[in-house]
Structure formats: structure tokens, C-alpha cells
Assembly symmetry: C2
Homo-oligomer: 237 residues x 2
Amino acid sequence: MGIGPGGAAERTPRADRAIAQSDVIVGYSRYVRLIKDLCVGKETLATGMTREVERCRAAIERAQSGSIVALISSGDPGVYGMAGLAIELAEQMAPELEIEVVPGITAANAAAARMGAPLMLDYAVISLSDLLVPWEMIRQRLEAVASADLVAVLYNPRSRKRVRQLEETVEIFQRYHPTDTPVGIGTAISTPDEHIVLTNLGSLLAQEVNMKTVVIIGNTQSTKLKRWFLTPRGYTL
Amino acid sequence: MGIGPGGAAERTPRADRAIAQSDVIVGYSRYVRLIKDLCVGKETLATGMTREVERCRAAIERAQSGSIVALISSGDPGVYGMAGLAIELAEQMAPELEIEVVPGITAANAAAARMGAPLMLDYAVISLSDLLVPWEMIRQRLEAVASADLVAVLYNPRSRKRVRQLEETVEIFQRYHPTDTPVGIGTAISTPDEHIVLTNLGSLLAQEVNMKTVVIIGNTQSTKLKRWFLTPRGYTL
């Protein structure tokens, strides 16, 4: 609900209000720590990484027994976040449960703002993690996006164990775009560790990229100015 | 900077702070009215629709003469908003000007939250307006997105004079997806006139769609539950 690193740590008044009105706060422990100002006097259920299903079940169970529950997600809960899983599980466990999804600023938009304006034309958001989606499907999407000259925003581009996907992505894009196509690399956006690099397609693999990074690959209109990564909309100036 | 209808009327503390610190507020008159609480005691330059270039020039000129200027955009200024034009013009007029882009919640994410969780898997954002981009290019992008089974978010889907684009879009998607593919139609999101319709690809053209609408077309994983439009991420439940 608009909170957390690895994406956008932009809090919104609506998310803060929803959390303030809750009795129980459920979330990944790192994200719950980021809103500890809102946790005072409330019960918190903070669990470790990759325990999403368990966490959602706990949130729904508490809501079924009458509590108002805030389920915390990073960035926008509707983009690779907890909203889908919560709705899916609630449909099975408690189809009449009242649910409100509070949108947040997802990493694509937060990172783009720090780089300039790379998303002024049509763009696609793709996760390179093949934990839940087969790599062949992701590869096909990358191919489609590169061939149709869409700006591409890559989530989960590389982890310590998973490096091949980003290499293959660069190979695909280089088939359609010159090596000097602008690329923006945004890590830990909106946190004290925020780090932005503007580079190009040919140099992307030499850069530090991890699970807190989003990578934006420009299209054939994109350009790198002195300070900015820009995809002009096409106005006559 | 996170303000306005036709997209997300979610204000963020960071945008509000930036506006509060400015001397001059520049924007489309309808958006400036939405933040009149922040305009007290400030100079405002509010201009009509489709005067984007003029508005940006005025903002930059005021900044060059020493004012702190807030240039207001609707939703996220980096998505079909004013950020790109401002950076492009500043590069010509005042390359040393200090600029900060404040991200906002774009209509794709605001509308998705009201519909459930349609953007849990990879998605593309495409504007159907062919004012600045040739229709043939847009058509190609729609084809690529439909064929690669990406969820599609359509901005500017239809205006009074421009109706053919949405019809053609439906034809394209029907070549790859069944007619019962879930579709969400969100109009005037986060305003008092907000209106959400969950329907399907076969019935999309029969619905009210205008320039304040975003249309979300699901992929082959998407499903319509009783109250929600969901694209499951693929967790084993």
C-alpha cells in the first residue's frame, strides 16, 4: 500500500489512513519496520520473505474474526504485490469479506521520475523472475516488447543466483535496438541507499544490478541528455 | 505531480510539499482548481487544454527569472504527462535549470486497485491517441501486446471524434483472446464521478468509454470473480 524499498517508498495519505484505522498490521518484517510510526498500540504480524501465502492467510483469518487488518505491500500492492493473492485467497476462504486495495506508486514510476521522463510513450512492465512464470513466456514477452519499440521496465532483473535472464534480455533487445539505446538503472529508489545510473544497452551488463533494482530500457525515440533519460512524446517545439 | 482527474486524483505528501514550497503554480486550469487549497497567496498561471507547450515555456521562463515553479500534471507527470516536455524544453531554453520530477499514481494503477488486481503479471500501457504517434505504430504495439499475452492498459481510448481506434483494438485482441476475456473500464477514477464497469472483450464496445476512461484488457490468466478482476500471479494455494 505504497510503502517499502525495492520499489517506491512513497507513502500516501490514503494508505497511511487505512493503516491508522486498522487493528492488526500484517506484512513482511522489513516493510513493517518502515511504518513503525503507525504501528504504535497495534498488533503486528511480521513474517519473513517468500512467506506470502502464509501471510495472506493470517491476514484473512484475523479479518474473519472481526479485526480490521492492514496487509502491507511494497510500492503498488497491485503490481507484483500482495493484492492479487489476498483477493484470490479471500475468494476461497471468505468470499464476503470487505476488501479495499489502496494503490501506491510502483517502482516503474518512482524510478522513472528520478531518471527524467523515460515513460512518456507507451511502455511495458515485465518481471524477469521465472519463479512463478515460465522463462519461455517471459522471453516471448521481451521479444514482443522489443520488436514493437515499447519502452521496457524490468522488475527483479537479477539475483545472486539468477543472472542469465538479464543477459538474455540484453541479447533480445540488441536484436532490435542499437547498443547506445539509453538505459536507466534505479536501485533502492526512495530509500537512503537510492542509486541511479544512466547508461546504455551495450553497457548494462557491466553495471551493479540486484533484486532492489528496476531497469528501464528506452525505445528508438529515447535519448540521454546530460542529466536526464528522456523519451520525447513527440510535440513540435 | 500526482493530482487530477482522468487518472489518479491521489495527492501525495511529496507533491503537496513541492507545491507548498513554490512561488508560482502553472497548470491546466481544471487541475489547478483541484489544488486550490495550496494556491492561497501564490501566483497561478492556469491555461486551457492542449496548450502544453505554451504552459511549459511559461513555467520555465518564470523559473529562469528566479521563481520556484510548480508545474502541475495529472496522475503521474511521467506517464503521458508534463515531465517529458518540461525536460525537453528546459534543455533548449535553460539547460542548467534545477528540475525535480515528483512521481504520482498513474491511472493504470489507480484504476487497477478499484477493479481488484488485474496487473499482477506483466502489463503494457498504451495510449490510443494518434495525435502524436502514428496509428500504424500504435496498432503494431497492440498486436505485439495481445500476441505476447500481456495485460493491456489503454489510455485515451475514445473521444467524441475518435472512435475507430478502440474498435480496431478490440478486433486485434479478439484475434488472440476469447471474447469472455475480462475487461475493466474505469472512468474519472478517484473523483466524485468515479465509475467502474467489469465486463469482457466481447462487450467492451457497448460500454460508455470517454477521454476520462482507462480500459484494462486481461490476459489468458485473468479471471472475473464476483466483485473483482484478477490476474493471478501463479502462487500454489
